[in-house]
């Protein structure tokens, strides 16, 4: 996959020849409330419908509505298009449309723009009555002039005023027209999408927006000298497009989960927004509890009384649920917990991505609390993992944690439309009588598995407890019983592990370097590894879905490579930093777990930049960490 380069200006005309590129990123940025996101979403789905690979991700400021025209307040969206499936947000942006120069500067400061990016910026600020604003504009242009960007001023305000009297509400559709021309998007499709997006508003709105779309399209045709063509993927697999949180919400419906208890927290909340909207119609209940502890308690009570329930949260909420998780594990009550990870520790970076909850998820509960931890790697997996999680939770009578993150939560991409099967759903709670003498914890000596008794089952009456207990669920302080029951709870993980297959290596089965990842970084890692292999480097990658228990065969795989290194979005001490030795170095969280379980000297390359990893940075890390290469990063 090669990075696109922007062609030189041809004389402005209707028939500008389009440059063919295989992969390209566009950003639309503005102050919040100007609709840049809506514009990008429509552009993205039109592109998807036209057969491109698409990944869109929103650029969200930390405040709800920060002061206007501030770099830190930039609000917008990135759309990455490709002639193949796009699995991640990519590297830098090639084309940027900015509603004001400050939002643009915000992106510039974050190195979000490619050195040769094409920048289309609203120029009303150059002539703004307020002198300080004019000054800000000049300073910004001064800075940009020192870059290799190609900056094109666009009179958005002026143009939109010909159609609407408050352009603040219309610019985004003008820009959509602009982009439609540049990328040769099917204007009718765009209009359909607009109509759909505003279906709840009155028809005039849609008409107005259609006009603005045409306006932008025509302006571009008359004034721009470059167009792009990203060849379509020819595939007739039906697809649906959504973000990871929507996929989790619909996935939970597919899994037959019927109660979700949560307390709002970014970036997990949008799962419950979706459920709040549709869950009841599917027979589900969304309970917004008074806090995360209560949410866990309600979910556990619900599971105890019937089907497996679930709770949704992020780091700080995970922390609060810790005690209840121990109870569910001890009393063997199935529970699914979704943790949409964000930047930590503490409140950290609430809207940004991180993979720093792994160790807390696996080891965070006081006492010995064996349970299952999994991580989806794609938006599609966000959907399907809910069924797997629910099934394991019920089969093993334990807690299953699903670790997603802000990258999957906000990333939007198409994936094959699932072919639903009723088997994915669990049946109604068993209400048959319990045979005389059967026990609520009749652990199978070999597997530790046992059948759960559900209220309503005559003869199954018993009291579950978080205290040490015997097979009859009677409180027991006896040494032998405590050893045995601990043993049975732990055994279940070994049983699950024995059913797992070793993960598939991507690339050669052996070589110089193996990159190991988990969760949302899969797309970026594989893109980087592919690029590295294209450069002739002997590198492969491995991605883990099961973190507890770990999949089998890892040590064998690791031993076939000269070096093994994890790539994670969490913190690790850098080699060579003051006081850091191989002995005291704090490593990436997965690296650390793999070292303990395989005793292989696993290195790590991790970053906590508050953004998804960029394939190009991972590529640099690979180049810098080839066992024979010097200057390891």
């Amino acid at each position: 996959m090669k990075l696109p380069t922007v062609g030189e200006a041809a004389p402005t005309s209707q028939d500008v020849s389009a440059k063919v590129v295989s992969d390209l990123s566009v950003e639309v940025v503005s102050d919040s409330g100007e609709g840049a996101q809506k514009c990008g979403q429509i552009f993205g789905s039109v592109s998807a419908k036209m057969g491109n690979g698409v990944w869109t991700v929103e650029i969200i400021p930390a405040e709800v509505e920060p002061p206007p025209r501030q770099p830190a307040g930039a609000s917008g969206i990135r759309i990455r298009l490709g002639d193949q499936e796009v699995t991640n947000w990519g590297d830098e942006t090639n084309v940027v449309v900015a509603f004001n120069e400050q939002a643009l500067m915000g992106r510039h400061h974050l190195n979000a723009l490619a050195p040769d990016a094409v920048v289309l910026v609203e120029n009303m600020w150059a002539t703004h009555p307020d002198p300080t604003i004019r000054k800000e504009w000049e300073d910004a242009m001064e800075v940009l002039s020192k870059t290799d960007y190609r900056v094109i001023e666009v009179p958005m305000e002026e143009q939109c005023l010909t159609v609407v009297d408050n352009p603040r509400r219309g610019k985004n559709m003008f820009v959509l027209g602009l982009l439609s021309w540049i990328f040769q998007r099917d204007v009718d499709r765009a209009k359909e999408q607009i109509a759909h997006a505003f279906r709840t508003k009155k028809p005039e709105i849609t008409e107005r927006n259609h006009e603005l779309l045409d306006l932008g399209f025509d302006w571009a045709a008359a004034n721009l000298d470059f167009r792009y063509e990203i060849p379509a993927i020819t595939s007739d697999v039906p697809k649906i497009v959504m973000n990871g949180n929507e996929a989790i919400a619909l996935g939970s419906v597919a899994a037959g989960l019927e109660l979700a208890a949560m307390y709002p927290i970014t970036p997990a909340t949008s799962v419950s927004h979706m459920l709040g909207d549709v869950f009841e119609k599917f027979g589900g209940t969304l309970h917004q509890a008074e806090d995360e502890i209560a949410a866990a308690g309600v979910a556990i009570g619900s599971s105890y009384a019937g089907k497996c329930a679930f709770t949704i949260t992020s780091g700080p909420g995970l922390a609060l649920k810790t005690e209840f998780l121990g109870l569910a594990i001890m009393a063997e009550i199935p529970l699914v917990l979704v943790d949409v990870q964000r930047g930590g520790p503490s409140t950290g970076l609430p809207t940004k991505v991180e993979q720093s909850d792994l160790l807390a998820a696996v080891f965070g509960q006081p006492g010995d609390a064996p349970h299952v931890v999994m991580a989806p790697a794609t938006i599609e997996e966000c959907f399907h993992i809910m069924t797997t999680a629910r099934r394991i939770a019920e089969a093993l009578r334990t807690v299953v944690m699903v670790l997603s993150d802000a990258n999957l939560a906000t990333g939007v991409a198409p994936f094959p439309r699932p072919e639903l099967s009723a088997e994915w759903q669990s049946g109604p709670p068993d209400q048959r009588p319990i045979p005389e003498g059967a026990n609520p914890y009749a652990w199978d000596e070999k597997t530790g598995l046992s059948r759960r008794f559900i209220p309503g089952q005559p003869g199954g009456e018993h009291t579950v407890t978080g205290l040490a207990h015997d097979q009859r669920s009677k409180v027991a302080y006896d040494s032998v019983i405590n050893e045995h029951s601990s043993n049975m709870r732990s055994r279940k993980l070994a049983v699950l592990q024995s059913t797992l297959l070793p993960p598939q290596v991507r690339g050669d089965e052996e070589g110089d370097l193996l990159i190991v990842g988990w969760g949302s970084t899969k797309g970026a890692i594989e893109e980087a590894v592919d690029r590295a292999r294209a450069q002739g480097l002997s590198v492969s990658s491995l991605h883990l879905t099961f973190l507890s228990p770990l999949a089998p065969g890892l040590k064998e795989i690791f031993q076939r490579f000269r070096k093994v290194m994890t790539v994670e979005i969490n913190y690790s001490d850098k080699k060579g930093d003051p006081f850091i030795t191989d002995e005291n170095r704090r490593r990436g969280q997965l690296a650390w777990m793999l070292r303990a379980s395989t005793l292989v000297d696993i290195d790590c390359w991790t970053r906590v930049l508050g953004e998804p990893l960029r394939p190009s940075k991972i590529l640099e890390a690979i180049e810098g960490n080839m066992p024979n290469g010097e200057n390891e990063l």
């Binding site: 027979g283 556990i300 105890y304 009384a305 009723a422 579950v464």
Partner: protein, 314 residues
């Protein structure tokens, strides 16, 4: 919880004796007030002929929270302070079950305070019993929020620093409260009548039970037990009526349980121990009935989901 409704339709030949609800010998101290509450609950279940399999006792952690272990119904001995959250989950999922919650004063009023306040507001249809011995029993005599000011404990050995929290007053201060009563474990007839009224109330029934802890606070209710005139009974045809109780408890006061402000004034003044129904309002919205949740087969759900996909189709 109007069981009559819940059990309508069921064909069930069984009749239950007191013994059908009695579990293993309770391991509370001899003379502990919890024993009487257990007996009253078992009597209630017998009277109402509740099916053991359709009845769930949920508790937190504490002496009092051992309660479910001594019943033969389903039970959930949870974690400290969180019983109400678990019970809410049970009832949200299974409105057909009768749910009772047993909590200590530390369990409900201290660590559980947030859940308690919100459970009162949710008004989920269940019975919540606060076994209030004004002390932490299981952990051996620490001050609880209801410990009288100046009363000595192991953590405040020179006496509790503050005036006690008044659970009735606080509950009455929460909007959507629908049933608030107080009784005493040493007045079995009143205890039973109160549990019955709480059970028959549709909504969240909060019952504070004054409970003796001979092991750590033997003096706490000594006088009240010895001198019935220190106790005042709230009487009203709409309230909790106990045949012949006025023989022993001469001081009675008429209180209409629909009068919220009257209830608050009675609850506030702590010079007298008042037993009875302070407030009841069956018209308050019940959280687990405020929504309409569709019922579908797995197939139907999958079909619906498939339709849903259309709006995400590329």
């Amino acid at each position: 919880m109007s069981c009559s409704l819940l059990h309508a339709g069921h064909e069930d030949e069984r009749t239950f004796e007191m013994g059908d609800y009695q579990g293993p010998v309770a391991r509370w101290c001899s003379g502990c007030g919890d024993h009487s509450v257990l007996a009253a609950a078992q009597r209630l279940l017998t009277d109402e002929q509740l099916k053991p399999e359709d009845t769930v006792f949920v508790s937190g952690i504490g002496c009092s929270s051992r309660f479910p272990h001594y019943m033969t119904t389903y039970g959930f001995h949870g974690i400290h302070g969180r019983a109400l959250t678990i019970a809410t989950g049970v009832k949200l999922t299974r409105s057909d079950l009768d749910v009772f919650v047993v909590m200590g004063d530390g369990d409900c009023i201290s660590i559980g305070a947030g859940h308690w306040i919100h459970a009162v507001r949710y008004n989920v249809d269940m019975v919540a019993l606060l076994l209030d011995n004004n002390i932490y029993g299981l952990t051996k005599k620490q001050t609880s929020p209801t410990t009288p000011q100046g009363y000595k404990s192991n953590t405040q050995p020179r006496g509790s620093f503050l005036p006690p929290m008044n659970p009735l007053e606080a509950t009455l201060g929460v909007s959507n409260a629908s049933f608030v009563a107080q009784t005493a474990e040493w007045v079995p007839a009143h205890l039973f009548a109160t549990l019955q009224a709480a059970y028959r109330h549709k909504g969240f029934s909060f019952v504070r039970i004054l409970q003796r802890c001979p092991h750590f606070t033997s003096d706490m209710y000594e006088d009240a037990v010895k001198q019935p005139d220190l106790v005042e009974i709230l009487s009203h045809p709409e309230g909790i009526q106990v045949e012949g109780l006025d023989k022993i408890y001469k001081s009675q006061i008429r209180h209409d349980p629909t009068d919220l402000n009257g209830a608050r004034e009675l609850a506030e003044d702590m010079n007298k121990i008042r037993l009875g129904l302070f407030f009841r309002d069956e018209s308050r919205p019940i959280y687990n009935e405020t929504r309409t949740i569709a019922k579908h087969t797995a197939r139907q759900k999958m079909d619906l989901l498939n339709e849903e996909f259309d709006s995400y189709a590329v």
